[in-house]
Symmetry: C2
Subunit: 311 residues, 2 copies
C-alpha cells in the first residue's frame, strides 16, 4: 500500500494534469477536490495552507513546502511543530534568482532605463558608465544557497560582493559580515543591496527607514525575498527624498500588487510580479518524491526547517 | 626630442583637458587646433580621419586607431598602406561589450520587456520562462577577443554558445563553425544571434534578408558591431513578417540615428546609442603611449591590422 500525499495547490499549479503527480512512491490526493479520511494522510505537500488546516491531519509523517520560504507555514499558530517541515531546495530556483538579480544589476550599471527613456523620445543620448563594475559594491542580505549563487554570478562580472548572514560564511571572493552587530558596517558599503533573506520574526520589516539611512547616498535596493521584509512607505520616502537612487521589487506586502499602488507608477521603481524564481513543477515533484521515498525507507529527510529559527 | 603624435578627436573626447594627453613618451598635437609641419608628424592617433587626410602626413611611423574597428581608416582609398595600422585592443572594451550582451540576452530570456509593459499598465501579469537558459542556443558572429569574452560570460549562465569565424577557433565549451560553407549550419541553430564581426567588404551587409531566413523561427538578432553590417529594411521586414521575434541594435547605418527612423518606435526593437563598448580615454591613452614607446625602441607593434583582411 502506497503512502498518501495530500497536495494543496495554488495558481499556476492547478492547471497541471493529475498525471504530473502520479508516482510509484505515493498516492496523490488533492485538497478541495478529493475526499479522504484525515487520518489516512501521511504527507502534506503545498505552499500556504490556511492556519488551522494542518492540525486536522493527525497522522502526518512530514510536511513538504513547495516553495523555498516556509513563512506561509510558520504563520499558523496551530502548526504541528512535532512534524518535520521540509523546505524545497530547488537548484533551478537559485539559478533563476541569480539570472534575475544579474539582469537587474546590469540594467542599473549600464543605465538601461536611461536609454529606454531616450528611445521613447526618439533621442540619441549617449552616456558614459558611472563606474566600472569592479568599483561597484553589491551587498547580499542572506548568504544561503540562493545568495551564494547570486554572489558567484556577480563576481564573474568583477562586481565587489559582500554578504550578511546570521553566522559568518566562507564564500570565495565574498566579504562576509555576520550578526546584528555587523549590519551597520555591511550596509555602509552597499552601492546596491540585494535581499534574499528568509522571512522570520527577526527579518520581517528589516528593509525600513532606519536601514535605508545606513546605506550610502544613491544606493539601490533589490528585494526578491518576501514582500513583508520591506516597509513600502519607507522605501518610497527614501526614494522621494533622493537618498536612494532606485529600487527593483519582485515581491510586495500585498500580492497581486493592487492596481492603485503607488509602486507601479513610481519613476524609479521596477516592479515585477513575483517571477524572480518560479518553482518548476517537474523539479519540485521529483524532490517531493525523493523526500517521501527517503522517509518511507527510514532515512533522514533533507532540508528540515529549524522551527525556532524559522528557516 | 620627443616624437610628435597628432590626435584627431571626436565627440566626447574633445571635452578632455590637454593634460590628459601629456606624456613623457610623445608630444601631443591636436588636428584642427594646433599648427604643425606635416612632415614633423611621427604618429597619427584617432578614429575616422577624412579620406585623403593621412596621405598629407608623409613621415608617419604608425597610425593608431582609438576604436577597436578600423573600417573608418580602410574606407580611405588613399590610405597609406605602407604605414602600420594598429587597432586598439582595450580589455575594458571587451568587458563592456560582454556586460551589454549579457544584459540584453537576460532581458530577452527573462521576458523583462513583457514585465515592463505590464508595469506601465499597473497589471500583475505573471509568465513562466519559455525555456531554461541551458536550452537556449546563442550564436556569436565573430570569435575574436570580444566574441570570446561574450561567449565565456554567457556560458556561466549555462546558455548553449556557438561561434562563427573565418577560421576555426578552439574556445572551451563553444562550438566553432568556420567559413562561408558552415554559415548555414551555424545560423540554423541560433535562437539568438549576436554580431561582433569586424566590418570588411566581406561582412558589410551580412545581416540581410537571406541570412534572417536561415535563422530559426522566432530568433533574436543583437548587433553591437557596426551599423553597416545590417540592412535595416530587411530586419524590419523579417520582424513584421513575424519570422524574427525581436532585435537589439546598438549601431546603425546612420549615426546618430535620425529621429524619424522607424527603428526608434518599433515595438520589438531595443535601440541604444552606440554605447555597448565605450573606449575609455585613460585606458586608450595608456595603450597609445605603450605603442609609441615600443615603436621608438624598435620593438614590434601589437595588434597590427592585416590590411588585405581588414582587421
Amino acid at each position: 500500500v502506497k503512502p498518501r500525499a495530500l497536495f494543496l495547490l495554488q495558481a499556476g499549479w492547478n492547471e497541471l494534469g493529475a498525471d504530473r503527480f502520479a508516482s510509484p512512491v505515493y498516492e496523490a490526493l488533492f485538497a478541495g477536490r478529493d475526499s479522504y479520511a484525515p487520518e489516512s494522510i501521511d504527507y502534506f505537500v503545498g505552499f500556504r495552507p490556511e492556519p488551522g488546516f494542518l492540525k486536522t491531519l493527525p497522522r502526518l509523517k512530514a510536511i513538504i513546502s513547495l516553495g523555498a520560504g516556509v513563512d506561509g507555514f510558520l504563520r499558523d499558530p496551530d502548526f504541528p511543530r512535532h512534524v518535520p517541515l521540509v523546505r524545497s531546495v530547488d537548484p533551478n530556483l537559485a539559478i533563476q534568482m541569480s539570472e534575475y538579480v544579474t539582469l537587474q544589476v546590469l540594467t542599473i550599471h549600464r543605465h538601461q532605463r536611461f536609454f529606454d527613456a531616450a528611445q521613447r523620445d526618439h533621442a540619441w543620448r549617449q552616456r558614459m558608465l558611472t563606474r566600472n563594475a569592479g568599483d561597484i559594491r553589491i551587498g547580499i542580505l542572506g548568504l544561503g544557497t540562493i545568495g551564494n549563487l547570486i554572489a558567484s554570478r556577480l563576481r564573474t562580472f568583477d562586481f565587489q560582493v559582500s554578504g550578511w548572514s546570521r553566522s559568518r560564511k566562507d564564500v570565495p571572493g565574498v566579504k562576509s559580515f555576520a550578526g546584528e552587530s555587523e549590519l551597520p558596517a555591511f550596509l555602509s558599503q552597499c552601492d546596491m543591496l540585494v535581499c534574499v533573506l528568509p522571512l522570520t520574526h527577526e527579518t520581517r520589516g528589516i528593509l525600513n527607514a532606519k536601514l535605508f539611512a545606513q546605506l550610502p547616498e544613491q544606493a539601490w535596493v533589490i528585494n526578491v525575498a518576501r514582500g513583508a521584509h520591506l516597509i513600502e512607505d519607507d522605501l518610497i520616502a527614501a526614494l522621494d527624498r533622493g537618498h536612494l537612487a532606485g529600487a527593483v521589487l519582485d515581491v510586495f506586502q500585498t500580492e497581486p500588487l493592487p492596481s492603485d499602488s503607488p509602486i507601479w507608477a513610481h519613476p524609479r521603481i521596477t516592479a515585477t510580479p513575483h517571477i524572480a524564481g518560479i518553482t518548476e513543477p517537474r523539479t519540485a515533484l521529483a524532490y517531493v518524491e525523493d523526500c517521501i521515498a527517503r522517509a518511507e525507507a527510514g532515512k533522514p529527510l533533507p532540508n528540515v526547517v529549524d522551527i525556532t529559527r524559522g528557516y
